[in-house]
């Protein structure tokens, strides 16, 4: 793959061309995400159907011009439900990850930067939460707050907190001991300046990659909650919910499983592709 005749060129000159290499995966990923965001913000732009409206045509209508993806068990337009469901699913994926990451990293950072006593206490608490099965946590959260997208979101977020917290603590430890943090201290910067400028951003770095996977996991976890009957409240459309409902009717209409399943997978793939790209950029690597 290497052309031996090429002369060494300055990296500064070589970089831009490589940075803008044509990458169909990335473009598709970004395109898909843009579509999702549009669906989440203004679903009405993408479909004229009401996701809650029971169609006169009846249930399990196969795809047609009127219903591009057919209708579900209650005769509602599947495409409209997919489009309107994007919001809950995105909220679930992004929201749960955002909460998990934020709370988890605050807790983890406090543990990683505080004295040994505080750290020990926090870490034991994290152990306690980790030792309780995620599902039970979710059940308790849902039982306390009731079902619904937002509550399922909290359940999923809550379960993810200890993982992020552990990661961040470990990361904070590494960064705190790193030479560049010491170098910044040696320059005479304030403790908080050092933490803000160097410790935090570097401790967060691996989080980008992890969080992109986390978004997918969160959507999946939300769907799993729905599967166990703990997810979104009907009739609100949500992909996980549609998926678990679709399973009941899989022999009547397999599209009811395939479509939301595909949407979830594509979302995760898109988020990951884009996320990896962002991560590479944030590391200043040539893409």
């Amino acid at each position: 793959m290497t052309v031996l005749t090429a002369r060494r060129s300055l990296p500064a000159l070589a970089l831009p061309t490589r940075r803008w290499r044509f990458r169909p995966g990335l473009i598709l990923g970004v395109g898909y995400l843009v579509l999702l965001v549009v669906a989440a913000i203004a679903p009405g732009l993408l479909t004229s159907h009401d996701p809650l409206e029971i169609s006169t045509a009846g249930a399990f209508v196969p795809p047609s011009g009127e219903h591009l993806l057919g209708t579900d068990q209650s005769g509602r337009d599947i495409l409209a439900r997919m489009i309107y469901g994007a919001r809950s699913s995105l909220i679930m994926g992004l929201g749960a990850t955002a909460i998990g990451v934020t709370v988890g990293s605050v807790v983890g950072l406090i543990a990683g930067l505080a004295n040994r006593f505080v750290e020990g206490t926090i870490m034991r608490l994290i152990d306690v939460t980790l030792s309780i099965p995620d599902l039970l946590m979710a059940l308790v959260v849902v039982t306390l707050l009731g079902t619904g997208t937002v509550n399922a979101l909290f359940a999923v977020a809550f379960a993810s907190i200890p993982y992020y917290a552990r990661l961040l603590r470990a990361q904070a430890h590494v960064v705190r001991r790193s030479t560049y943090v010491e170098a910044a201290t040696a320059l005479g910067l304030r403790r908080w300046t050092v933490i803000r400028r160097h410790v935090l951003p570097n401790a967060f770095k691996p989080l980008i990659g992890l969080a992109t996977i986390g978004i997918g996991n969160a959507i999946g976890a939300g769907a799993s909650l729905s599967f166990l009957g703990l997810g979104t409240k009907p009739p609100a459309p949500e992909w996980g919910n549609m998926l678990s409902l679709g399973i009941q009717y899989i022999s009547n209409d397999w599209l009811m499983v395939a479509i939301p399943g595909l949407a979830i997978t594509l979302t995760v793939l898109a988020v990951t592709v884009v996320g990896r790209d962002l991560k590479r950029r944030s590391e200043g690597r040539a893409v």
Binding site: R124, L125, D127, V128, T129, L130, S131, I132, P133, D134, L135, L136, L139, V140, T143, L144, Y163, I213, G216, N217, I219, G220, A221, A223, S224, F227, L228, G240, L243, S244, I247, I250, V257, G261, I264, T265, V268, L269, T272
Partner: protein, 310 residues
Amino acid sequence: MGIWKRIGTRLVAGIGVLWGAATLSFIALHVTAGDAALATVAGDGANPTQAVLDRVRTDYGLDLPLYQQYLNYLGRLLTGDLGESYQQRVSVAKAIGEQLGETVQLALSAAVVAVVLAVGVAILTARRRPWIRSTASGIELVLTSFPTFVLGLVLLIIFSFKAGWFPVSGNEGFAALVLPTFTLALPIAATLSQVLRTELEEVLEQPFILTARSRGMREASVRLGHALRHALIQIVTMSGFVIGGLLGGAVITETLFVRRGVGQLMLTATTTKDIPLVLGVVIFAATVYVVVNLIVDIVYGLIDPRVVTS
């Protein structure tokens, strides 16, 4: 000497974790709405007499103030008594014990499959041609992101409903274990192999690998003999994640494949407010967590001599 002391402190911390988990769950279960006695005898379709309800309430001390119930519970716990399941009316230890075998069987086989798959795939794809790597990591991504139940269903449809290779459900026999095992193992394997590949690729860059190659070692031996052990350290480190994944995934896998198991037990126990049973499962899970962490600590020292001696 060092290792015993470490195990000692870990055990003390572990007991603390158990206590914390039990207490937290106790509180959580009691603050959630729902009358446990009613849930026990007066569920859907039941029409019990008030006498039955009152009997259950006094039998289980549900009429006592909460702190009293908590102290009683802790007291019994200290004597190793986990109490009696409200729903099943047998000791919690027995109720869990009955389900344990299948869960352990499933969890172990899934763990083995996950690790073997992850190691295998990572070893085969690390530092290979780009298309091999991106194919592998693409598949892994899909697997990690797919809800377990969908994956299980897809496997069921393909291998059971359509091909008829494996029984659709049940606990009996090896064949019935295959699909649930893979359902549980694949997402874990996918995550593990992503981590492992990164790790392996880093290890394969190391000078000592080049040295091994320079001795005339074949590629397979280099990967298996040298690189793998380093990657194993990662697996050991991620064991917490694996355990979590196994326990969490087990509920759904068990539901889907209609296997008995602790996951199912917990699910029903929680929705019906079978408090002693839920707490029993929590204590069980927490014990597993603590023990696994302890083992990890020891294994870590065995795999990586630097941990103990440096």
